[in-house]
């Protein structure tokens, strides 16, 4: 009996040690999709692959071998690192092959990187929200860039300390999905469902007295948009 107790507690100790030591290497943040992953993210990727004529892919949400080989071939065709791992570069390439180039009717002149981080902030802050709510988050970022009281670049606005919870808690580092890229692009061509908002908050969670004092424009989904 005591043999068993001894062995079990040793095992528990080793497991605990393993878990803790993993925790203080680098901050563990999920950055890419790998074979074996399961979820909505994977499903969107598979849907894009199907549209790109990879016929044997099924949009099950499970990253299997078929998906793995398809990703590899896309990476090869686009001079990316052929790993079969869906990182941000791969996602941008997948999206770009669906969207044409962005024309000069954009509100702001931006680079591919800025489109990606705009999609990331939308995904981190508003995934699951109604589509116009997602566009509205992107529009708030753009409105801030154009406004004197905020930084003058998209990155500056997004990374401003304390500005976005998704940036502070790491959700910003998740891989954005197709919908977020579309919403980012729509915000860039001037769609503003928030009507010029500079702030937004979740009224069920916001505790700042100051933010509640801002004049309210409207509510979309779980966010209230304000000036």
């Amino acid at each position: 009996m005591s043999n068993k107790i001894y062995l079990t507690s040793l095992l528990v100790f080793l497991v605990v040690l393993l878990v803790i030591s993993n925790g203080f290497g680098e901050e563990r943040v999920r950055e890419a999709l790998v074979i074996g992953d399961f979820g909505e993210d994977v499903k969107s990727i598979q849907e894009i692959l199907i549209e790109m004529d990879y016929d044997d892919i099924k949009a099950t949400g499970l990253f299997g071998l078929d998906t793995f080989y398809a990703i590899k071939s896309i990476q090869e065709n686009n001079d990316l690192e052929v790993t079969g791992v869906v990182n941000e570069e791969t996602i941008s390439t997948l999206i770009q092959s669906e969207l044409e180039e962005i024309e000069a009717t954009q509100v702001l002149d931006i680079t591919d990187n800025e489109l990606t981080i705009l999609a990331k902030i939308i995904y981190g802050e508003a995934r699951g929200e109604p589509y116009q709510g997602q566009i509205a988050v992107g529009a708030v970022v753009i409105n801030r860039v154009l406004h004197p009281s905020f930084p003058n670049t998209i990155a500056g606005v997004i990374y401003e300390p304390l500005a976005f919870t998704a940036v502070a808690d790491g959700q910003f580092y998740l891989s954005p999905n197709q919908e977020s890229f579309r919403a980012a692009r729509d915000a860039l061509v001037g769609m503003d469902p928030s009507d010029g908002a500079l702030y937004y908050y979740n009224p069920a969670k916001a505790t700042s007295k100051w933010i509640w004092s801002r004049p309210i424009i409207k509510r979309i989904g779980k966010h209230t948009f304000a000036r």
Partner: protein, 444 residues
């Protein structure tokens, strides 16, 4: 048994020791990271004070200068330093309680520097506006005095930005007992004492109401709902609407956000409160392309134009660009007035490829900008355009007269000219009255 007990004791000690080691390394790691963050904030603040000191120097020196050239150089330096100061502010944890007045001041200083620089370069006889210069100089001096006081406090009393940040997060607002926060609030308060820099107040893009505002009346929420349903009546004849919702919105163009909940996705549109005009529309319709239902792009353009005619009574439209994706088509249109393409009157329409329905629309630009226009006289003949172009340009094509928005909410009549140099393509806009090169765009 003895061995067992010994092993258990060793095991217990090993556990205790490793827990201590783990905790210690976690704590020291955290300390190092916190210091890094604190250092970044300190750097940003010191940079801010440095840049603003340079701005003050340049402003004061400009007061005494008699040389156009030197003044131009100092304006450029002021413009550059304000940009850097703004960047530094963006790296400090001020978001929950912004320094609105100070940031507005910096924006105005930059605007003043840029404008003055341009007139000095143009040498068009416009003198330095010494009243504004003096006003700005006083304000910047005030800001710098406050910043100096604050810097001294931070450096001698080891005040921490991280502490301020933590308080901002905890009290969720401006903490009243943090001296850094108090110092900044005081500084911002001083700036707000100055009367509004009225010249820039007019020039800044204040969102003024569009022309048609005066000639119409406000509508009620019910009318907004009816209007919405009427506008998309042809789109929803095979769709079942089971509910609707109207939400008032108080943005730049006050209006009603109307949502129709249907069996084919929600349709949300914004109708303006004044005159009930359609501002934008999004339909989250599932788009399922099969072999048989791919809509022809010509049908799609026709559909888009009919929709715009119906919603805004615009007939003369020019397609600016089109985007083709696997699921939808997107078109950008601008209005044509008397043969002149007016870029500020912009529309964007998205058509689903499976059934040709309108799934996206944005006419905000058109609503804000469209008006009865009287165009300036065209004094430059098309044949003489080359005199105003860079001689290195090849493949020059004059596309015609267009209207483009310029700074300060104005519109200018220009010639649109395509040209190339080597592998680069350009669109150049030449003022049709003065021949001045107004804008260059790089074609990608």
């Amino acid at each position: 048994m003895e061995v067992k007990k010994l092993l258990l004791r060793i095991f217990a000690v090993a556990l205790a020791v490793s827990l201590i080691v783990i905790t210690y390394s976690q704590v020291s790691n955290n300390q190092r990271l916190s210091l890094q963050v604190e250092n970044n904030y300190q750097l940003a603040f010191i940079d801010l004070t440095t840049h603003l000191e340079h701005v003050e120097e340049d402003l004061v020196m400009t007061m005494a200068s008699a040389s156009q050239e030197n003044m131009a150089i100092m304006m450029a330096s002021i413009w550059r330093n304000v940009y850097a100061a703004q960047k530094s502010i963006g790296q400090l944890p001020f978001v929950l309680a912004p320094l609105e007045e100070t940031e507005k001041l910096l924006f105005n200083v930059a605007g003043f520097a840029e404008d003055t620089l341009v007139s000095l370069v143009n040498n068009d006889g416009i003198d330095m506006n010494y009243d504004i210069l003096q006003n700005i100089t006083h304000q910047v001096k005030d800001v710098n005095t406050s910043l100096q006081k604050l810097t001294h406090e931070i450096l001698t009393e080891n005040k921490s930005w991280l502490q301020l940040q933590q308080q901002l997060i905890n009290t969720a607002g401006m903490p009243l007992n943090n001296s850094i926060a108090n110092g900044l609030q005081e500084m911002d308060g001083k700036v707000s004492q100055y009367p509004e820099l009225s010249i820039f107040g007019q020039k800044q893009s204040i969102v003024s109401k569009p022309d048609w505002y005066e000639y119409s009346r406000d509508i009620s929420p019910q009318e907004a709902m009816e209007k919405m349903q009427r506008l998309i009546s042809s789109e929803i004849d095979d769709v079942f609407i089971n509910n609707g919702e109207v939400v008032a919105t108080r943005g730049d163009l006050p209006g009603y956000m109307v949502t129709l909940f249907s069996n084919k996705g929600n349709i949300t549109g914004q109708i303006t409160k004044r005159a009930g005009r359609l501002n934008w529309l999004i339909w989250e319709k599932p788009i399922i392309l099969t072999a048989g239902n791919n809509i022809d792009i010509h049908k799609a353009t026709a559909k888009a134009q009919t929709f715009l005619l119906d919603a805004h009574q615009v007939t003369d439209l020019k397609e600016l660009s089109r985007t083709v994706t696997p699921n939808y088509y997107e078109f950008n249109y601008v209005c044509v007035d008397n043969g002149i393409t007016c870029y500020p009157d912009l529309f964007w329409v998205r058509i689903a490829r499976d059934d040709g329905k309108i799934v996206g629309y944005n006419g905000n630009q058109f609503l804000m900008n469209h008006r009865q226009r009287v165009f300036n006289e065209v004094k430059i003949a098309e044949e003489h355009i080359n005199n105003f172009l860079n001689p290195s340009l090849t493949e020059v094509q004059v596309m015609g007269l267009v209207l483009i928005p310029s700074k300060f909410n104005q519109e200018i009549l220009v010639y649109e000219v395509f040209g190339e140099i080597g592998a680069e393509s350009y669109i150049i806009f030449i003022n049709a009255t003065t021949g001045k090169e107004e804008l260059i765009i790089r074609k990608k």
